[in-house]
């Protein structure tokens, strides 16, 4: 792949690239801090699953998939759709976990805000359909 094509893909898929970086940073943070959902108590047992290193490997895998897709822009096997679904699944699960933890501790954490906004951004990006807007605009113009 030429450098020009690489740069073009990076510019075209910049939202997915930086979202993947954010997801990667989040998983690295979880690996470094460890037992994030365990302390301070009270602890919900099932939330600690999200601290598990295997789960972190999955999150890193999703982030790396996002990075590779955004730079190479391949469309085989509906890669883009699967990437969006995987990211939505991961972030929705973490947002729910953060909200549950905040509810227990009776406070609002930066994690809940961060993942919530990230989730909203991915939902927006996934639902965005410029072609539909363009067709609607052209139809409206024809009707006049």
């Amino acid at each position: 792949m030429s450098e020009e094509k690489f740069r073009h893909n990076f510019d075209k898929n910049r939202t997915w690239f930086w979202t993947s970086i954010e997801l990667l940073a989040m998983s690295i943070y979880f690996i470094i801090t460890r037992r994030y959902f365990e302390y301070p108590p009270p602890t919900r047992d099932y939330l600690t699953i999200l601290d598990n290193q295997l789960v972190q490997v999955f999150v890193i895998g999703v982030a790396v998939f996002g990075l590779v897709w955004s730079l190479f822009d391949f469309h085989q096997l509906h890669a883009h759709r699967y990437l969006a679904w995987l990211m939505l699944f991961t972030l929705a699960a973490y947002t729910a976990a953060f909200i549950l933890r905040d509810y227990d501790l009776n406070r609002i954490s930066l994690g809940a805000i961060f993942t919530g906004i990230l989730l909203a951004r991915i939902i927006h990006e996934t639902l965005r359909n410029p072609e539909l807007i363009d067709v609607k605009r052209r139809l409206k113009h024809l009707k006049k």
Partner: protein, 49 residues
């Protein structure tokens, strides 16, 4: 156990809802494209006549 269910539901609900809306938008796009093509052809015929 209920915590795990909440997380699983939240995790699965987001992609499923988005996929349903995307599917609906795709169908709408196809329908509108056909409608647009018909109208453009009709307008072209009227102009030719």
């Amino acid at each position: 156990m209920s915590d795990a269910v909440i997380i699983a539901i939240a995790g699965l609900a987001a992609p499923v809802i988005v996929a349903i809306i995307n599917g609906s938008n795709e169908r709408k796009l196809l329908r509108l494209k056909e409608e647009l093509k018909e109208k453009e052809d009709k307008e072209k015929d009227e102009d030719d006549n």
